[in-house]
């Protein structure tokens, strides 16, 4: 199925958001996930199933400034 991840359409196999992060080698601690414009709680990542056409934003911490 196709989902949009950070604005880019990608082909992914059906699974949960947590599986998708694992496949992308992204630690759940390092990212905030927005699914179809709603923030997902971290403890819901493993129980939220990705569906065809979903829009996912992986928001990484951006810390610097000095």
């Amino acid at each position: 199925m196709q989902v949009t991840i950070n604005g880019k359409t990608e082909e992914v196999s059906g699974s949960t958001v947590l599986d998708l992060l694992k496949a992308k080698d992204v630690s759940p601690q390092m990212v905030a996930v927005e699914l179809n414009s709603k923030m997902l709680d971290r403890d819901k990542l493993g129980s939220t199933v990705v569906k065809d056409g979903d829009a996912i934003e992986l928001l990484f911490y951006m810390g610097g400034g000095a």
Binding site: G7, Y61, M62, G63, G65, A66
Partner: protein, 272 residues
Amino acid sequence: MPFIPDSEEQVTRYSRHILLPEVGGKGQQKIGQAKVLLVGAGGLGSPAAFYLAAAGVGTVGLIDSDAVDLSNLQRQIIHQTPDIGRPKVASAKAKILALNPSVAVETYDMRLTAENALDLISRYDIVVDGVDTFPAKFLINDACFFARKPLVHGGILRFDGRVFTILPGQSACLRCIFKQPPPPGAVASCQEAGVIGALAGVIGTIQATEVLKLILGKGSLLTNRLLDYDARETRFRVIKVAKNPRCPLCGERPEITRLVEHEPEVCAVRTA
């Protein structure tokens, strides 16, 4: 003393602002009466301080406990080679006054802490985040919420930058997205990972623009929108975010009811 654009010198100095329908004489007067606090006089604070001073912001507060280091000069453009070793706030104040002597510059050669943050922030109208660590960014986010002061958040790392404006209680805050800082040491800092110098100019200047729009009450702010800039690919993206009812700070059942300081990051401790 707040500046009033009444003299000929002032009218000429700000003529390119006054020409804009969004600014005009009245808007320029608002800018002259505004008090803006820059937390951090480094990569983001440098361009923000320059443009806010040039714009005629009446009072600019600067808080930073660091001294200018040779490795800062690649991006912290308010500091220059002869400033090495000088407190950053003193170095920045001198440049601001050289650019625009009518700006009142208030300097605090110290760190922002849970003890001093509310008192300091409550003296200003708008706060600009130009700090380098997550605990400090979350402290500023929380302090601005408790003091009900608009905050223009900024971050830079490697080739990536972000700007996000927060109207406390009204729009999404940092904790609506990231409930807490990342685990200590988990995310690299500029010191560890590097940063392309000119990126600080892009992000700090967008922060200054947000401040001016806040003062003027014009245009659309970066509230409920993250602006992410990928300098390597020259790509800007706007990501919509919303106020999170489960936010531990500004949500329906807040868990954070007073200022707390998160543990410093491992890398911050090591390089302190």
